[in-house]
Symmetry: C3
Subunit: 143 residues, 3 copies
């Protein structure tokens, strides 16, 4: 009588061990992850997004949060070589923030990678990237 009971408890424990992290991963879990959208052509918004990223790092600790800024549509100007926030972007990337440019937008505006700042990530579609991150439990901030 005792063997199946023990086996059963072990199996329930195994089931819980399987389900709990699954739920945690889907809902964001312990790690802090946030995607910041930049889709305005307004440099004030670009600075606000960079302020947001820095404040999140200060508040939670750089090591405790993953931040990705995704620029698309009219926001792509933030990532061009002549961007007024180029040096702030350098600092953000050096501190661990990922910055992604939308290749759909680049194609539409005839921008090549040579027209863009260094150290960027490239994603096929900025909007799909933001959508996928949310599906993976990332928070979403649209400054």
């Amino acid at each position: 009588m005792r063997i199946p009971c023990l086996a059963f408890l072990a199996a329930v424990a195994a089931a819980l061990a399987f389900v709990a992290p699954l739920a945690a991963a889907q809902a964001g879990g312990a790690a802090n992850k946030v995607v910041l959208q930049v889709s305005d052509s307004d440099p004030a918004k670009w600075n606000l997004a960079l302020n947001n990223a820095r404040n999140i790092q200060t508040d939670l600790g750089e090591k405790n949060v993953e931040i990705e800024i995704v620029a698309y549509g009219p926001g792509i100007g933030m990532l061009k070589l002549d961007s007024p926030v180029a040096s702030r972007l350098d600092e953000a990337i050096a501190s661990g923030v990922k910055v992604a440019a939308c290749e759909n937008t680049m194609r539409g505006q005839k921008l090549a990678r040579a027209d863009m700042l260094p150290n960027l990530e490239y994603v096929p579609a900025g909007v799909t990237e933001i959508m996928k991150k949310q599906q993976q439990g990332w928070s979403y901030i649209r400054p």
Copy 2:
């Protein structure tokens, strides 16, 4: 001894079969679903929302994604008969995008359904619609 053990394994399997899709449904699951908010009176934003919808369809495949555009507040003009994006909306709706008008906003602006483009959905409150979709695991994009 073996019967309870088998029964128990079957029950654990049943429990997992019940819990896993529940978690998937609540967190968005396999299907791609996204609600796009339009709450600005700016036609550039209306075009951006339509670009976003089309790019998501291109990137993921029309059949693999559910898209709903919700217009409310100052964004309701996007859906009026004289909307500058009327023909693009027609195309979007024909491709499977749902486009919803906020009846709260319509009441506030004294708009009847006769003042609106054809083939729209109507929701009592645009903002609650967006909230409910997020509760159901849809991603949220605010262009």
Copy 3:
């Protein structure tokens, strides 16, 4: 033979009782909770956010929804003593809406609590507050 079987069914029930509310809490659950972001210096946006809050309350019932408005960055003006929407904020707070000011922004703009409207909540960083709420299953609206 029957004892382990019963014990096993009880344990599966216990496992489900543990996992189901966990998943519900992480994905938003039955309760309606929404965080509204105000990060523009535009009084029209402040009124829109207040309209959104009121419409959500009307649509779902005041008792059935938790609403928090978080103002940060250029949106902090909404919560200053001279705010053009001060009386509407009073009404919103009286109806149960929480309104939170970002202390990071206040420090940057040299604002003290004496410069702000009464009955506000204060959060160290508005953007982190919005992020945390999303992690806890709240919906997010950026008017």
